[in-house]
């Protein structure tokens, strides 16, 4: 038995809190462990921040559609936007050994998602860009 949730908001920083609250609310109904909720919020926050700051750069911001499907042992997350596409494979890996003062700001978003989520996939087309990831958990 799975349940689907969805929220669509403008791609602006003010929407991030709404996405966090939405995740917390969806997870609360299904007794998802707190650490899983925290990681989901972190991953969604990073992905949406990227869309806001880069995806809709130079455009009047459009929508971000955040969809969740909660299943007994996993949560599937789908984030769709209609801005510029990106190429995850061509992203440089962050140098985690570099001294803090030598590191550039940002660049950890995808790294964090890969570290915390499972089965990450990204599809870009003229119909929208969709980042999908799964988080397995033990109830």
């Amino acid at each position: 038995m799975s349940q689907r949730f969805q929220i669509t908001r403008a791609a602006e920083l003010e929407s991030l809190q709404m996405f966090r609250d939405f995740i917390a609310e969806c997870c609360a109904h299904h007794n998802i462990p707190n650490e899983i909720v925290f990681e989901l919020k972190l991953a969604v926050d990073e992905a949406c921040t990227n869309i806001i700051q880069h995806g809709y750069k130079g455009m009047d911001p459009g929508s971000i559609v955040l969809a969740f499907r909660i299943e007994p042992d996993r949560i599937l997350v789908q984030i769709t936007d209609f801005g510029h596409a990106f190429e995850p494979a061509s992203a440089p890996a962050p140098d985690l050994n570099a001294a803090l003062e030598d590191r550039e700001l940002g660049g950890l978003g995808l790294f964090l998602i890969y570290q915390t989520m499972d089965n990450i996939d990204y599809q870009a087309s003229q119909d929208g860009n969709t980042l999908t990831f799964t988080k397995y958990y033990r109830p």
């Binding site: 969805q6 929220i7 669509t8 908001r9 403008a10 791609a11 602006e12 990073e46 921040t49 990227n50 700051q53 880069h54 995806g55 750069k57 455009m59 009047d60 911001p61 459009g62 929508s63 559609v65 769709t80 209609f82 801005g83 510029h84 596409a85 990106f86 190429e87 995850p88 061509s90 992203a91 440089p92 550039e104 700001l105 940002g106 660049g107 950890l108 978003g109 995808l110 870009a124 087309s125 003229q126 119909d127 929208g128």
Partner: protein, 294 residues
């Protein structure tokens, strides 16, 4: 926050399938077919496919046979324009003898990215009073009030409950129409439909039909916020014109007329460059005007 990841600018999305001939698509049902390819078909198969765009319920309401497009007097009531070489399809239906008396007009077009745009959709009640908002006092076409305006007629239309751009009351069948358009898109293996909402009121309707914003979601949020008491647009409803009356903030139509009248200049914005997208089979659930009546 990601860095360096947004590498592909939008224009590169031009679909290599955009010019694929219809014959190459017979073998693979998952390949999207362009309207240009469809228009290259012989007349009869083309007609069979495009017939799906016209809602049966709408035709039935005007006694038009959905197969022959004739009325009971055997007069043709529907016109299809889908010429070979064209990237557009236009379908119009009218009531009575005069083809100019259209109650339905739909125009779809291929876009440069391999998708399909909805250029125009008109579904109006031919039995309702007509307002000449489409021509100004000098007889020039207003192009929905975008290049010229007929203020006297617009005022009459507004008081009759119409939204900007309308010449008659709507048929209230946009849900059925979009169901048919989505079915048609699925038949062509397309995944989405894009459009540019002409007015604030039409954007509101498209939101309810499941569209999200590729551009302009933030603008819609700003408009809603600034129409609230204390907001800049609320203050600009100062009675300085018939289209800027204080109570207009309360309805989508009232706001739409004020926006049509140029009230967004108050916040240094324009009603321009919005783009909406409907993913086939998916409701985006956008509502940028919560707790607001139409």
């Amino acid at each position: 926050m990601f860095k360096y990841l947004r590498l592909r600018p939008e224009p590169d999305r031009r679909d290599p399938l955009a010019n694929i001939p219809i014959t190459q698509l017979v073998g693979d049902a998952s390949l999207p077919v362009t309207l240009k390819a469809l228009n290259s078909l012989p007349e009869n198969p083309k007609l069979r496919l495009y017939r799906t765009l016209l809602p049966l319920q709408v035709l039935a309401a005007f006694d038009i046979n959905p197969r022959t497009w004739q009325n009971p007097e055997k007069q043709i009531q529907v016109r299809l324009q889908a010429d070979e070489g064209s990237e557009k399809v236009k379908i119009s239906a009218w009531f009575g003898q005069n083809p100019e008396n259209e109650f339905f007009y739909l125009e779809l077009a291929d876009n440069p990215y391999g998708g399909i745009d909805l250029n125009f959709l008109i579904a109006s009640d031919p039995h309702s009073p007509k307002f000449n908002t489409d021509f100004d006092e000098q007889g020039r076409e207003t192009l929905f009030g975008t290049v010229h305006r007929n203020r006297a007629e617009e005022e009459r239309a507004m008081h009759a409950g119409l939204a900007p751009g309308q010449t008659r009351a709507g048929l209230r069948c946009s849900q059925i129409i979009f169901t048919h358009v989505e079915t048609f898109l699925t038949l062509l293996a397309h995944h989405a439909l894009t459009l540019e909402p002409m007015t604030y009121a039409s954007a509101w309707i498209f939101e309810r039909r499941g569209f999200a914003y590729a551009r302009g979601h933030q603008l819609m949020d700003i408009i809603h916020r600034e129409f609230q008491p204390g907001g800049a647009l609320h203050k600009a409803l100062d009675g300085s014109s018939p289209f800027r009356q204080p109570e207009q903030w309360q309805t989508v139509r009232g706001r739409a007329w004020a926006i049509h009248d140029g009230i967004l200049e108050t916040i240094e914005r324009k009603w321009d460059n919005l783009k909406m997208i409907k993913q086939v089979g998916r409701q985006a659930g956008v509502n940028t005007c919560p707790n607001t009546l139409f």
